[in-house]
């Protein structure tokens, strides 16, 4: 019964929970806790999938010592190893690709950009943009367009936002979810988790910007950068900007954090409890 429960839990955490979590838009007002909940749900899903085979072993042995059924034990080990290998392979592929792309981009930025005070790189381009290149030798990159358009206070908000990404290593979080995303076979993939996590990471960095410059300057910076594009650079719809703007208007909601943290504990704890029950 317990291995079935674990398999069911894996399905719930991998396919059902992300949909439910993504629908809880109120959670966006507590981005830090929401990110913990997302990570816990994903980790719980992986653990549950890994634990199905080991949990089935005691039931199938029916009281016999393990040495009597080597084939059965080996089969269970292979089942778990396949799940783990898929994850590790995906991790390796995504990590290598992302790091190579970052390194290449950083090399070119180091050549074309000018150095500004505080190690910020400036690209001589009229489009207003700001971003960071995470990693061991990270960079914050601004365009001349953003320096020309934004007053100091808004610029500080943008810099605080980017530095929050680098300091809290949001890139690792995004990488983790990209890896999970790619480890699922393509027909079964859902963009929900990755999309929501991207939004939450931005909302969290926005909180750092608000602490530095206040809601109004942060909101104005969002609008200024959204408008600061050259006409030839048409952008697709469906970006995070409107939601982030709304979050700046409504402010944080600390009560929701507690619920999210509780959910996180349950998501990781459940597979562990089920596996230990199977072996006791």
């Amino acid at each position: 019964m317990l291995p079935l429960a674990l398999a069911g839990l894996a399905v719930v955490l991998v396919w059902v929970a992300p949909g439910l979590l993504a629908r809880q838009v109120r959670l966006r007002r507590a981005p830090r806790a929401a990110l913990v909940a997302w990570q816990a749900v994903s980790l719980g899903g992986v653990l549950a999938a890994l634990f199905v085979a080991p949990a089935a072993v005691p039931e199938l042995l029916g009281g016999d010592p393990m040495a009597d059924h080597p084939a059965l034990v080996a089969l269970a080990a292979v089942a778990s190893i396949v799940v783990l290998a898929r994850l590790l392979l995906s991790g390796h592929l995504v990590g290598t690709r992302v790091r190579a792309a970052r390194a290449r981009h950083r090399e070119i930025v180091d050549i074309v950009a000018e150095h500004d005070r505080g190690g910020v790189r400036v690209l001589q381009h009229p489009t207003a943009t700001a971003y960071c290149i995470p990693g061991r030798s990270s960079r914050v990159v601004l365009s001349q367009g953003v320096l020309d358009t934004l007053p100091e206070r808004q610029l500080d908000a943008v810099l605080a936002h980017e530095k929050a990404h680098l300091k809290a290593r949001h890139d690792l979080l995004l990488e983790f979810f990209t890896v999970l995303h790619e480890s699922v076979p393509p027909p079964l993939r859902s963009h929900r988790a990755l999309t929501e996590v991207r939004l939450l990471v931005e909302a969290l960095a926005d909180r750092a910007a608000v602490r530095r410059s206040g809601e109004v300057a942060t909101a104005r910076a969002l609008v200024a950068i959204a408008q600061g594009r050259y006409p030839d650079e048409a952008m697709g719809a469906g970006t995070s900007a409107p939601v982030r703007m709304h979050l700046l208007a409504v402010g944080p909601h600390p009560v929701l954090s507690a619920t999210a943290y509780l959910g996180a504990v349950v998501a990781v704890g459940a597979p562990v409890v089920l596996l230990s029950a199977a072996w006791s």
Binding site: I111, L123, H125, A219, V223, M235, A237, T239
Partner: protein
């Protein structure tokens, strides 16, 4: 007298060398000797270092080279402006969208014109809320003045 005593990082050297090539221009180009002589005016730098840096830049396809007698003549593959624009457009050719968004974290991924209108409306809400909060501590006095 060279005024730089510490050895610059490879990335900084690449930048200095590219700057020389951009100054030399896309049609004229420069040999290792040209670049070395120009750089040596400001800092101590070995001829072989310049050669290595140009070789690296060629591998990265940032410069092209042609035979010029017994030496190589190097040309910038793109103007500085073109390379900047390319960097801005995030045309990291071999990357799909998922990877790019994991590789670089943009302040804003962009907005459509419809969204910009919505953003402005939302900004007005944020601003008016801030105004209310600012005037709240003044309490009755602030309200009476209106």
């Amino acid at each position: 007298m060279p005024h730089s005593t510490s050895t610059p990082r490879l990335g900084d050297l690449e930048r200095l060398v590219m700057e020389r090539l951009w100054e030399a221009g896309r049609t004229h180009g420069a040999t290792v000797r040209d670049v070395h002589e120009a750089l040596e005016r400001d800092r101590e730098i070995a001829y072989t270092t310049v050669m290595t840096v140009l070789d690296r830049l060629a591998k990265k396809e940032l410069v092209t080279r042609e035979r010029d007698g017994r030496a190589w003549r190097y040309f910038p593959a793109d103007t500085r402006e073109a390379l900047t624009a390319q960097t801005m457009r995030r045309t990291l050719d071999d990357m799909d969208v998922t990877d790019r968004r994991a590789a670089l974290l943009h302040f804003l991924d962009g907005a459509s014109s419809d969204e910009i209108a919505d953003l402005k409306a939302a900004l007005a809400v944020v601003e008016s809320r801030a105004d209310e909060e600012a005037s709240a501590p003044r309490g009755l006095r602030g309200r009476l003045r209106r």
